[in-house]
Symmetry: C2
Subunit: 345 residues, 2 copies
């Protein structure tokens, strides 16, 4: 590409965050970059970032953490996260110029990525490219692995999904319907609740913010109890679900977004139900299931093209909107998968 | 046996109990009984009770409960529980006079039992009969099923057992040692801690009441983390364990005795660790595993006779001592399995 330097705006984490993240915890930095891979380097690609993904797990990376499954962001450096990008130059024989990829990249216009083993090459371009931050990327695999591999679902079972209109929840609900389950979702606005029923085919849905008594709400929709709970929120909802589980129920613990901005997590009081109802509760991380990704694509791409599975995205325009989009996740401002478009090509 | 009536002292639950149970929540009642099965009845046996078992799950039955795996005791009626008994007369073709059995019976000298399908016939009498309330009965099967079926243990793994000197814990520790695991137990007195190491062969043991910081105590004994936690206590210990679990750890939830006398269970705050460490936490009830009982006996009886597995009982003499023995469980007064002898033959 030559020696010319081009501008490369970045989104920097200013400092570790406590409580709810704010846009002011991030700042923009105008840098420049030479559009080539460093000389003599291998396993390096130069990426032009197209779409960035805003995901709840990123909240954890905004604080100092040790011994978790992810590393902290580095204050003063660009945020990193999943994204879709185009290879501008490759020092890795597995990638070529103009390849499209998804995986870990930086919150900036161009990124030099050295962990190329974490990048997935995009083969099917006959779908919206942004889907590779969602239904065809990490959140899609999360829904797939969490539902099919962790929940051990069977036709006819009752399934409850919290944060059900989110990047993962909307898919879990659709997968459960395809299998022949009865599916109920919770979300935090009327608009999202409507979407669950009208767009994603949930049997029922409710706005948890309008329920005085979550236990009563769950009893209304699950008079005979819940076989499977796909846990995205934690805290009070988990407590209410535990007393409404059926014998031998399963809880796949995917996330606990209601807890991420608290200094101390809420206490969960009803764990004795694990014994009385013989519940299996299991946490999982999508990266343990990426070996199933080809199998997932084979299943999901035809479903998408046939309109049998749909996906709703909340698309923010431009890197400038990225901090606001990320912060919005934690107040539930997004409707569907939150994506940021940096460039459409 | 004839028409003669004999005296039949009973232990009655006076009323539902809140908070810690007291001896005064129970009372003795002098009744009489005819020593024969009601005429024309089938599936009924008349039992002479020999040993009664005091078990933590009985606390749950002292309150009004609905939809649990056990039923409430009936205030005004005798307490029921596991015991060892001799058949005096049988109206059930599966049992004969002088058979020894273990299973659900009453807290009284003689019991008419109609749920004969829940009684196990005792074949091997070349072991202490009281063992059929413990190592050869429900607690033994609990340890066996919980450890081998729920924990998925492997040689070389690190195992933590709470309430480790109790009826179940002492066996879990020994099973884990036999398999080649590193095993640490917690208990509530120095005497119990010594027993864990000197008698049951635990690698390490500690007195949880003397630890200011359970997290620090666990880090001392498990610098690289815990693969398997056999959960008997709940509450603060569970919270401390969660942050000390290894990746892909397993928690078998057998009981939560620290919580049984509280009006509301303590909150557990560290459940997010289920995700970060990809932990499977699973509750179980021994009755789902009784089909494995013959296999268990085949394994355990030779081990007992060879002295390779030992069992410590805390034996209270006489039905009069039963209320005190039961109440003592919840302050940890018993050392080993709490049994009450009604009659030795």
């Amino acid at each position: 590409m030559g020696e010319e330097e081009v501008s490369n705006k970045q989104v920097i984490l200013k400092h570790y965050v406590s409580g709810y993240p704010k846009e002011s915890d991030m700042e923009f930095k105008n840098t420049t970059i030479k559009l080539n891979v460093p000389e003599g380097s291998s396993n390096v690609v130069l990426l032009k970032n197209l779409y960035l993904s805003c995901d709840p797990y990123m909240r954890g990376r905004m604080k100092k953490i040790e011994g978790s499954y992810v590393e902290s962001f580095t204050p003063g450096s660009p945020i990193t996260g999943y994204g879709v990008a185009k290879v501008l130059e490759s020092g890795d024989s597995n990638f070529q110029k103009d390849d499209l990829v998804w995986g870990m990249t930086g919150w900036e216009e161009y990124s030099i990525v050295t962990a190329t083993q974490t990048l997935f090459k995009i083969h099917d371009k006959d779908v919206p490219l942004s889907y590779y931050t969602g239904i065809l990327g990490m959140p899609g695999m999360t829904a797939y692995a969490g539902f099919y591999e962790v929940c051990s679902p069977r036709k006819g079972e009752t399934v409850f999904v919290s944060a059900a209109s989110g990047a993962v929840g909307q898919l879990v609900g659709q997968f459960a319907k395809i299998l022949g389950c009865y599916v109920v979702g919770s979300a935090g606005t009327k608009e999202k609740v409507d979407l669950l029923k009208s767009k994603f085919g949930f049997d029922e849905a409710f706005n948890y913010k309008e329920e005085q008594d979550l236990d009563a709400a769950l009893k209304r929709y699950f008079p005979d109890g819940i076989d499977i709970y796909f846990e995205n929120v934690g805290g009070k909802m988990l407590d209410a679900v535990l007393v409404n589980m059926k014998l031998h129920g399963r809880i796949a613990v995917c996330g606990m977004i209601s807890q991420y901005n608290l200094e101390q997590a809420e206490g969960v009081h009803n764990l004795f139900c694990l014994i009385t109802k013989r519940i299996r509760m299991e946490g999982f991380i999508v990266t343990n299931y990426y070996h199933l990704y080809p199998k997932y694509l084979e299943m999901i791409i035809p479903q998408i093209k046939a309109g049998k599975v749909v996906y709703v995205e909340d698309v923010a325009e431009g890197l400038e909107s990225a901090p606001s989009a990320l912060v919005g996740l934690f107040s539930g401002r997004n409707i569907g998968k939150q994506v940021v478009v940096i460039s459409r090509g």
